[in-house]
C-alpha cells in the first residue's frame, strides 16, 4: 500500500514540478475527453495549445486576455498569502468596469475634450477606486463584525452583476442602441492606448506587468510585505511580534479590489469599448486558479495567466473550429486546479511503499 510520509522540509523541486505534472494530467484528460466526444485528440489539443500562439496577432491577443487575469490574480496572491479568503475578485472587477466605463461614458456623452494619454491615468484611477470600494465593504464587515469574507465577497459578486445589469438595461442604455442592453460606444479618446500598431494589445498589459513587479518588491523586499505574509502563515508568531492583522486584512483587500477594478476598467475602455452585461468572461474566478497555479508568486501569476488565457482562447476556437462547446475551457480550468492541489501534496509529503496496516 502506498502511504504518505511527511517530508522533513518541503521539497522545492516539487513546488515547481507540481504545476507541470498537473498540466500534463489536464492535457491527458483533455485528450481523453476529445476522443470520447468523437473528435481527433491531436487536433483538439492543437486548438488549445498551439493555435493561440500563432503569429503576432495570436500572441498579442494572448497578452490582451492575460491582462485582466494578471491584475486580478496579483491581488488574490496578497489576500491568500495573508490568509484573507477573497473570492469576489469578479465583483470587484465588475465595479471597476462600472466606474471606469462610467467615466468613459460621461466623457463620451458630455463631449469633454480629452487626449488619450490624459484619459488613461484617470481611467486606471477610476477603476481602482471602484474595485477598492467594493473590496472595502468586505474588509469593513470582516473587521467590524467578523463576517466571513468568503461568503460576503461572493455575495457581492451577484450584487455587482445585478448592478451592472440595471445600469445597462436602464439609465445607461444607449438611446440609439435598438434597445440592446449596452451603453453607447465610448469616444475614441477614451480608448486605452495601444501597445502595438494594428493589434488590440494595449497599455493595460503594461500596467499589469508593472503591478506584478511592484507586488514582487512589496512581498519579498519590504518589511511591511513580510509582516503581511507572517500574519497569514503563522498567526500566533505575528501577534507575538506585534504585527497588525487588521492592517493585513485592509491592505490585502484594498489592493486586491483596486487591481481587479483596474482590470475591469481597462477591459471596458479597451477591447469592449462600451459596457454590456458581458464585460467579464469570469476573469475574477479564473484568476483564483491563476493565483494557485502561479504558486501565489507574482511572476508565477504572469506565466499562469498566459497559460489560462490560452485555455480561454482555445475554448473560443474550439467552438468555432471544431464545434465543441466553449464551456470546455471551464472544465479544463477546474481539472487543472484540482489536480494541482492533489500534486501539491507531494511538496510536503513523499510517497512510501509500506505494508498494509
Amino acid at each position: 500500500m502506498i502511504q504518505l510520509e511527511v517530508r522533513p522540509t518541503p521539497s522545492r523541486l516539487m513546488s515547481v514540478l507540481s504545476p507541470v505534472i498537473a498540466l500534463a494530467f489536464t492535457v491527458a484528460v483533455a485528450a481523453v475527453l476529445f476522443a470520447a466526444l468523437g473528435k481527433d485528440p491531436v487536433q483538439g489539443l492543437r486548438v488549445f495549445l498551439v493555435e493561440p500562439l500563432r503569429g503576432a496577432r495570436g500572441l498579442t491577443e494572448l497578452g490582451l486576455k492575460a491582462t485582466p487575469l494578471i491584475l486580478c490574480s496579483l491581488g488574490l496572491v496578497l489576500c491568500y498569502r495573508s490568509n484573507v479568503w477573497n473570492i469576489g475578485a469578479e465583483g470587484q472587477y465588475l465595479l471597476g468596469a462600472i466606474t471606469g466605463g462610467g467615466l468613459a461614458l460621461w466623457v463620451t456623452v458630455a463631449e469633454v475634450p480629452m487626449a488619450p494619454w490624459a484619459f488613461f491615468p484617470l481611467l486606471v484611477l477610476a477603476g481602482a477606486l471602484g474595485g477598492a470600494a467594493w473590496a472595502a465593504l468586505v474588509a469593513f464587515l470582516r473587521d467590524r463584525f467578523t463576517a466571513n469574507e468568503i461568503l460576503v465577497s461572493l455575495m457581492l459578486v451577484y450584487v455587482a452583476n445585478l448592478l451592472l445589469s440595471w445600469l445597462v438595461f436602464g439609465p445607461w442604455k444607449d438611446p440609439n442602441g435598438f434597445n440592446f442592453p449596452q451603453t453607447a460606444s465610448f469616444a475614441a479618446a477614451t480608448e486605452v492606448p495601444r501597445l502595438v500598431r494594428g493589434m488590440r494589445l494595449n497599455w493595460g498589459f503594461g500596467v499589469a506587468l508593472a503591478a506584478a513587479a511592484a507586488t514582487w518588491v512589496f512581498l519579498f523586499r519590504t518589511y511591511r510585505g513580510m509582516q503581511l505574509q507572517i500574519g497569514g502563515s503563522a498567526r500566533a508568531a505575528a501577534r507575538y511580534a506585534g504585527f497588525s492583522s487588521r492592517w493585513a486584512l485592509w491592505t490585502s483587500l484594498l489592493v486586491s479590489g483596486g487591481l481587479a477594478g483596474v482590470a475591469g476598467a481597462c477591459e471596458a475602455a479597451g477591447p469592449m469599448g462600451q459596457l454590456t452585461p458581458y464585460v467579464s468572461n469570469g476573469y475574477g474566478f479564473t484568476a483564483i486558479i491563476v493565483a494557485f497555479v502561479g504558486r501565489l508568486h507574482p511572476l508565477g501569476c504572469v506565466l499562469s495567466s498566459v497559460l489560462l488565457s490560452m485555455f480561454l482562447i482555445g475554448g473560443e476556437l474550439a467552438q468555432s473550429r471544431v464545434g465543441l462547446p466553449a464551456a470546455l475551457s471551464g472544465v479544463f480550468q477546474g481539472v487543472l486546479l484540482l489536480s494541482l492541489l492533489a500534486c501539491d501534496t507531494l511538496i510536503q509529503h513523499r510517497l512510501r511503499w509500506a505494508a498494509s496496516r
Binding site: 504518505l4 511527511v6 479568503w85 473570492i87 464587515l141 463584525f145 467578523t146 463576517a147 466571513n148 468568503i150 461568503l151 460576503v152 461572493l154 455575495m155 457581492l156 451577484y158 450584487v159 445585478l162 448592478l163 445589469s165 440595471w166 438595461f169 436602464g170 474566478f285 483564483i288 486558479i289 494557485f292 462547446p325 464551456a327 470546455l328 475551457s329 471551464g330 472544465v331 479544463f332 480550468q333 477546474g334 481539472v335 486546479l337 484540482l338 492541489l341 492533489a342 501539491d344 501534496t345 510536503q348 509529503h349
Partner: protein, 306 residues
Amino acid sequence: MNELALLVAAMLSAGTPLAIAGLGLLVNERAGVLNLGAEGMMLMSAVAGFAAAYHTGSDWVAFAAGAAVGAAAAAAFGWLVIWLNTNQYATGLALSLFGGGFSAFVGVSYVGRKLVERSHYSVPLLRDLPFLGTAFFEQHPMVYIAIALAGAMAWFLYRTRAGLVLRSIGESPDSAHALGYPVRRIRLAAVMFGGALCGISGAYLSTVYAPLWVEGMTAGRGWIALALTVFATWRPARVMLGAYLFGGVTMLQLHLQGLGVQIANQFMSMLPYVATIVVLVIISRNPLWIRLNMPASLGKPFFPGA
C-alpha cells in the same frame, strides 16, 4: 388572504432546496470538514437530475441521480482533503469552479428542453382546509421530506451514539482517534452524505422548482446554504428556519412586482444576496457566540498519529 397563502406556499417551495443542502452541509461541518464546493456539486447534480427526469419522466429517479452525482463529487473532494490533506478552502473552491464548467459543458444539449407534464401533488382532505390547504398541503413531497429530515437529523445528532461520535470528531479528531474511531472514514461518510443532500437539492431545483436547465442556474444557492449553516450555529431546526426565511425573501421579489411596487427588478433580485450579508453580519457580530457553537476542528486538517 389567498394571496398570503400562495406566498407561504411559494416560500416553502423556494426554501426547500436551501434547507436540504444546508442540512447536508451541516452534517459534514459537524464532522469538521468545510466543503466550499456546494455550488459546484449542486450544479452538476442539477444537470444530472434534469437529464434523468428528461429521459425517464420520474422525479424520484432524478433525485437519485442527483444524490449519486453529489456523493461522487463529494467523495473526490473528501479523498483530497482527508487523505491528501489539501487545503479545504482551495479544494472546495476548485470543486465549485469545476462543477460550474463541467455542468455547463455536459448540459449544453439540455438547454431549452422541457420536461414532460409535471404531476401536481396535494395531500388528500388536508388540501381542502381553508387557507392552510393552499399554504401547506399542495406541495411536492420533497418539501415534507425535508422537514422530516431535519427532525431525524436533530434526533441523530443529539440522541444517538453515532451522532455523538460524529460531533466529537468535529470537536476533537485527535481524541476520537485515540478512542479508536476511524476518523477519516467517518469524515468521508459525512462529506458524502453532505454531497448527496446537495445533489438532491440541485435535482429539486432543476426538475421541480424551475423546472429547466440553464448554465449557472443555482444562482449562488450553494453559497447561501453554506452561509445558512453559520446563521444556524450548526443546528438543524435553525437551518430550516433560515431556509424558509430566505425562501420568503426570494419570493418577495416576485410578489412585490405583482403588487405593482416600482423598483427595478435587478434591485429585487439583489435581495437574497444582500439579506445573506446582513444576516451574516448580525450573527457574526458576537464572535464569541460563533466560536462557542462552531465545531472546533472545522476546516483544519487532521493527521492521525501526528
